[in-house]
């Protein structure tokens, strides 16, 4: 605990982006923070039991959550739910990303496409995607298509908008330079427009992944038989709080991993922005 406090003081001294922290120290700080959070949670859960504050079923300690997850895993159920959620996210996000990037590239480059697509997007975008979920269910039923379509719908917007921004922000002098070197049509697109817009496209993908995990849970609350959202809702019906928390933790980890994957892609593809 003493070392944690001293770490905080260095954090304060050097600021959030201070260069003073070495990689190892940064990692140590992050691990300490997570451990401290778990310790606090455990202490609270323990206090509830000791002092009989309220029914401990409402706040199970982390060990009970792990236990519940282990039990689900042992029964082989956990993977079914994880797989169901991941499949919906993969298909829904994949479709949303493909549509968002394709239409975004088109709208970014061609004024006619932009003038057709953008007003529609601007009209629909302010509506919280969740408000559209019941409509999706009414239109295509409560099965897989509505869940996947809903993710596609929700992830499309940030990806479309960042892609348009990415294309529109390309320095015109780069396009002039490319044309003067003989690039036009497809070559101009693949060699200049796409790489120049890539950082913004990747930002959109990262937002899209986060949003996909955000909306999948809610669509799995309704009419699903598998999936982590289903697991949470099922836990609520039967007062299985450890199961609810366990599913939430797994969702958090999956979202974290998804974000990490896109970040990895970003680092690989846009290394030129931050050369060593």
């Amino acid at each position: 605990m003493a070392s944690f406090v001293s770490n905080v003081s260095t954090l304060v001294e050097s600021g959030l982006r201070g260069p003073a922290l070495t990689r190892r120290r940064a990692l140590a700080l992050q691990v300490t923070a997570v451990a401290a959070f778990l310790a606090l949670w455990s202490a609270l859960a323990g206090l509830v039991v000791l002092l009989e504050l309220f029914n401990p079923i409402f706040l199970p300690g982390p060990w009970l959550v792990v236990e519940a997850l282990a039990a689900l895993a042992a029964k082989g159920e956990l993977w079914v739910h994880v797989a169901a959620t991941l499949e919906r996210v993969a298909i829904g996000f994949g479709t949303g990303a493909a549509l968002g990037v394709a239409l975004g590239l088109g709208a970014g480059q061609l004024a006619p496409v932009r003038n057709v697509v953008e007003p529609l997007v601007e009209l629909l975008r302010p509506i919280p995607p969740l408000a559209m979920l019941p409509l999706f269910i009414v239109w295509v039923g409560i099965g897989e298509p509505s869940k996947i379509g809903f993710i596609t719908y929700a992830t499309f917007f940030p990806i479309f908008l960042t892609t348009v921004t990415g294309v529109r922000q390309i320095d015109p002098v780069l396009l002039r330079a490319a044309r003067s070197l003989g690039a036009s049509g497809l070559a101009l697109f693949t060699r200049v427009i796409l790489p120049a817009a890539l950082p913004d496209i990747l930002t959109g993908l990262r937002l899209g992944v986060a949003l996909a995990f955000f909306v999948i849970v809610i669509s799995e609350f309704i009419g699903a038989e598998h999936g982590l959202g289903y697991l949470i809702n099922d836990g609520r019906n039967f007062f299985l709080v450890p199961q609810m928390l366990g599913a939430a933790v797994v969702l958090g980890l999956l979202g974290y991993a998804g974000n990490g994957l896109v970040r990895l892609l970003e680092r690989r593809l846009t290394r030129w922005q931050h050369p060593a």
Partner: protein, 258 residues
């Protein structure tokens, strides 16, 4: 189509006006020829339309009237036979130095061995062979502009258009790059149209200096620079040219303020 000895660039009665119904004339009736292997500097008060003229020759802007011929072919848009070096360098930030220099040859689908030869040759010429694998973010302004020059040369254009290429550099780097361009020109003998607002730069580099009037820009006077290929900025003949041209430019600048 072209006959030997005919001018490489022919600017014929080119005029340009901006705004609705041409309310803001920028250029009025420019006639100018640039011969093969000639380096012509266009000089003038700021806003006289000298960059506009270059953009018209590059094909980035259509003229309001008149036409531009390069090797006898009318200019209708940008093209690889007219290489451009921009003040802002305009390097592709996601490509390495090599990637930038071989951008043109790659578009022409030149074989890898030939591309490597081309890249090596021009990086040697601008002294950046050791930096071939860096990306633009790792280079200084002077190095970036050297890459941009190498990139333009590697595409082997018929003419090179340079739009205040050293304008963003500090005075020291500026003179170094002038020295290098002069050296390159003694080897490569390109046809170059070079826009600048520096009289010294123009006298140092040009075979002919074209002084433009204030807006709407016309050609005020053309000074053939009869100095040796290797020039001395402190030679009396050099400073005489500088003084003569300065007098004319000052008259034009004064007109702007009237």
């Amino acid at each position: 189509m072209t006959t030997a000895g005919s001018p490489k660039i022919q600017i014929r009665r080119v005029a340009k006006a901006f705004g609705a119904a041409g309310r803001a004339p920028a250029l009025a009736e420019i006639d100018l020829d640039v011969a093969e292997r000639e380096l012509v500097c266009i000089l003038g008060p700021s806003g006289c339309g000298k960059s506009t003229l270059l953009n018209i020759v590059a094909g980035f802007l259509p003229p309001t009237a008149g036409s531009v011929l390069v090797d006898g072919h009318p200019v209708t848009g940008p093209g690889p036979e007219r290489g451009v070096v921009f003040q802002e360098y305009a390097l592709f930030p996601w490509l390495t130095v090599t990637g930038n220099v071989e951008f043109g040859p790659r578009l022409q689908a030149r074989p890898a061995a030939e591309r490597k030869q081309t890249v090596d040759r021009y990086l040697d010429l601008v002294g950046l062979r050791a930096h071939a694998d860096k990306v633009p973010a790792q280079l200084s302004g002077g190095m970036k502009q050297r890459v941009a020059i190498a990139r333009a040369l590697a595409n082997n254009p018929a003419v090179i258009l340079m739009d205040e290429p050293f304008g963003a550099l500090d005075a020291q780097t500026r003179e170094t790059l002038q020295d290098e361009l002069s050296k390159i020109q003694r080897v490569e003998h390109k046809t170059i149209l070079f826009v600048t607002h520096s009289i010294r730069e123009a006298v140092y580099l040009a075979d002919r200096v074209v002084v433009m009037t204030s807006v709407p820009g016309r050609i005020r006077q053309v000074f053939p620079i009869k100095l040796p290929e290797i020039r001395d900025r402190f030679a009396p003949e050099f400073t005489q040219y500088e003084a003569d041209i300065t007098r004319v430019v000052k008259e034009e600048v004064a007109k702007v303020h009237e």
